[in-house]
């Protein structure tokens, strides 16, 4: 059957973050609700106006039900899917389908985590595989390091090129007052950082922070009544090949090849049309792999593509303009922050890091160990 994704028929009308960095004394749900209230306030809506809920908390298996209870609402659609950090882009896909078929009228997608102040480390409810656990990989860092080792072997990618990814993220973070890590990061700092799981050192890893995010979606016919510049959902597609790194068919090619191809086809645009790119950078290798797999450069060229400040402020392609998971925020599952930043760039509310004339923004979520890949393409009114 033909992919009949409802291109441009729904829009993100509000997008907010809350508690980025450290937010002690709050539960993950408190933080998610705070971000949700910020987003709803932007468009004059109240929790009682929401009838579609999408959430996946790190520490509450039934967070969809808990969110409905917390907000005191009776949603028609409640989705608590768990594809890892990409879940929220999958939520956007299903929200678009639910909105356009009349299953709900106002969809709220939110996330929050207090992992840094509550646990001081990544909080995950994922179970370790019996065929991996005896070898004590760092979870999930060693899985990504294995992929990086393979990319270096096949394509000659270097640690300096991973360093370029980390430095670009930091430079963007320096333009974002909400970002957690804003100190300058030089190549020397990067190379001297403690090795953790070769080839990765400390600066190849995303941050461990608290933080929350929320977006509100409605049908396109209502969007313009709520906000001047909605971010229309032109396409969203998901793909997955595996969960554990042992089962990943080719460590240098992710399922983003599939999700990206379908999302671009739904949107009717191509990579060279995209104005800003927001990728889930749990590790430096992610940015390189996703730029290749989504078609921004040929396979194997990612390391060279990110070099020379090409994806940093002032470079050819703005990538992870908020500072990403590497330098802005990473509260366990980062996916929703890619959608928030992509939507805000189209809304034109990004302050010092705002790019000029953003009509097309790509958000890409990753879940598990390069396992789940979900690509969303957002457009301004001009793209409809």
């Amino acid at each position: 059957m033909k992919d009949a994704f409802p291109r441009g028929q729904t829009a993100i009308v509000a997008a907010a973050t809350h508690g980025i960095g450290e937010a002690p004394g709050y539960s993950s749900m408190d933080l998610a609700v705070a971000a949700s209230l910020k987003a709803l306030d932007q468009v004059g809506l109240k929790p009682g106006d929401v009838d579609g809920l999408f959430i996946g908390l790190p520490d509450q298996f039934l967070s969809g039900l808990q969110l409905a209870e917390y907000l005191g609402i009776r949603p028609k659609v409640t989705d608590n899917n768990r594809t890892g950090g990409s879940a929220f882009l999958t939520h956007a896909m299903f929200a678009a389908l639910a909105l356009t078929t009349g299953q709900c009228d106002v969809a709220l997608i939110c996330y929050g985590s207090n992992q840094r102040s509550a646990a001081g480390k990544l909080v995950s409810s994922a179970k370790e595989a019996f065929f991996e656990a005896p070898y004590k990989p760092i979870t999930p860092g060693s899985s990504y390091a294995l992929a990086a080792s393979r990319h270096m072997h096949e394509f000659g990618t270097t640690r300096e090129q991973f360093g370029e990814v980390a430095m670009a993220a930091r430079k963007w973070a320096q333009l974002n007052p909400d970002a957690f890590m804003r100190d300058p990061l030089t190549m020397d700092d990067y190379m001297k950082a403690r090795l953790v799981s070769d080839p990765f050192g400390l600066r190849d890893f995303c941050l461990v922070t608290d933080g929350a995010a929320a977006i509100v979606m409605v049908r396109a016919d209502r969007a313009k009544d709520l906000i001047k510049k909605p971010a229309y959902l032109l396409g969203t597609a998901a793909a997955t090949y595996h969960l554990d790194i042992t089962a990943m068919p080719d460590l240098t090619t992710t399922a983003a090849v599939d999700s990206g191809k379908r999302a671009f086809a739904q949107a009717g645009v191509k990579p060279s049309d995209i104005d800003v790119v927001e990728l889930y950078d749990a590790f430096t290798i992610n940015t390189i792999l996703f730029l290749e797999d989504l078609g921004f450069c040929p396979k194997g060229e990612g390391g060279r593509f990110v070099s020379g400040g090409n994806i940093a402020p002032g470079g050819k392609l703005p990538v992870n303009t908020n500072g990403g998971g590497l330098s802005c925020v990473h509260p366990g599952m980062y996916g929703l922050f890619t959608l928030v930043e992509a939507a805000q760039q189209i809304m034109g509310v990004c302050g010092e890091r705002q790019q000029k004339d953003v009509n097309l923004a790509l958000a890409h979520g990753n879940g598990g160990k390069l396992s789940s890949q979900v690509t969303s393409i957002l457009g301004s009114e001009a793209t409809l």
Binding site: L146, S197, T246
Partner: protein, 125 residues
């Protein structure tokens, strides 16, 4: 008709073989094709006509990382090995410095005792 009363117990049987010092994998009885990790059915085909068989133990390092442990604990490597029979598995190469393990290296499996369980590791071949 598929016989659901006779399914293998994948994790349990795999670990039992290892505890006895034997490295065994499942394969499809009809095609002889091996797969890993152990499951009740072959991926994609869904075949439950499976048997346990010993692979040659020969393999090639596909990817490698060295986990930098907190001193005084020593660093150790984590590898993905492509077995001669096709499947890929996570393991560790022993007998050489962790930093000396390279992609493409030929290796051979050995079962060791690690704590209470049997574990497959590899030596340079």
């Amino acid at each position: 008709m598929r016989d659901f009363s006779n399914l293998q117990h994948p994790e349990q049987e795999y670990k039992k073989f290892l505890a006895e010092g034997k490295f065994m994998l499942q394969r499809n009885r009809d095609t002889g094709k091996f797969f890993f990790y152990p499951r009740i059915a072959e991926p994609v085909t869904g075949s439950t006509n499976l048997e346990w068989a010993a692979p040659s133990g020969l393999g090639t390092v596909y990817a490698v990382t060295v986990v930098r442990a907190k001193p005084p604990a020593p660093n150790y490597n984590v590898v993905l090995v492509d077995l001669a029979e096709g499947p890929r598995m996570m393991s560790r190469v022993e007998g050489i410095a962790p930093e000396a393990v390279k992609i493409g290296m030929k290796v051979k499996a050995r079962v060791i005792r690690q704590g209470e369980e049997g574990v497959v590791v590899f030596d340079p071949a």
